[in-house]
Symmetry: C2
Subunit: 191 residues, 2 copies
Amino acid sequence: MARPRDPQRRTELLDAILAYLTEHGIAGLSLRPLAKALGHSTYVLTHHFAGKDELISAVLAHLDRRQQERLAALPRPGETGGGLGDVVRASWAWHITEDLPMVRLLHEIEGLSAAGRLTGPYVPRMLGERAEYVAEVLRAHGVPADVALRNATLLNAAYTGLQIDYLTTGDTERVEAALGALADTADSWTR
Amino acid sequence: MARPRDPQRRTELLDAILAYLTEHGIAGLSLRPLAKALGHSTYVLTHHFAGKDELISAVLAHLDRRQQERLAALPRPGETGGGLGDVVRASWAWHITEDLPMVRLLHEIEGLSAAGRLTGPYVPRMLGERAEYVAEVLRAHGVPADVALRNATLLNAAYTGLQIDYLTTGDTERVEAALGALADTADSWTR
DNA sequence: CCGCGAGCATAACGACCGTCATGTGAATGG
DNA sequence: CCATTCACATGACGGTCGTTATGCTCGCGG
């Protein structure tokens, strides 16, 4: 036996690919420009991943993992402490000011997935994990399980829709007024 | 002078193209398969539209027009008559049972537009027209203009997000419970 | 009824696509 | 230290892409 495989290489590549995708999108992805941006030949991509389709699946899985970490790092307002609206407001501020390219990519992916143009379990899984986070917070505040699930679904849907609205129209004032109302509603659920 | 141009041809083509796009998506659009589906050669497309980019712009403009007609045909609940929630429930039922492929296409387009991968004024304009319809209904019920705009934004965002959730996860029960709550909220604004 | 232009097919162009066989060098377990 | 395996570049493959030059047909205005 000789030279063992480097188990980190794949993750490094996925991080670099993800960074590339946040700037160039995923819909018209082409392997040659991607490889060039990574400073390699296209063979690196077909070697570590079986082909383009498998690469995209791996990227979605990686993205799912990264979003899970993001959720886990979020404050989990219990029966004491701040409300859910604070999480909404803080998330919005972070997304808009620090993480816009990634948010754009996520909405491109969600749109393609909703259109049935992206298969695999990762996108529905990401939606489910977000819903579960919110529902858990609501239940911790004594909200019955079915109401918690319904309101979590509604809150996430509205948040997503407002992001799309903002990204599409750029109308900060109108969208952030609506976001304020949404955050207030979320607060009213946890008080 | 001879044979005058047929002014209907372009609209006929756009309708046929739109029908094709609802089944095959717009992200990976290729002229050859599209032309074949129309029963023509690709030259029909480059002849009536300057090129692929202009064709897509024309399709988006056409789609915008079709959506305007849809909005105009919607009931306009005034100070008397049914509430806004009824419109929400009826729209949902129609979208899910009769117009799913078009809804899929619209979300693919919105996602691409939010990601900045689709230029032109048509997608933001469509969002604006939907918002204006809802805001107008709210104002007709005596809601102050700024509140009407804010709630219209919120309602449309939530509706869009719920559609994406449903299209992605297929979880009818959970999403329709949330839709019910949303429709009830909309009713409470117009009573 | 003639001629012209609209509508369209055909076929070719160069560019780019994803994939893969082959070759090379470096690293490591035995 | 050597056999082996990984990591990667190179270059070619058949295929598809958007676009366009050329030419035919057919329907209307004069």
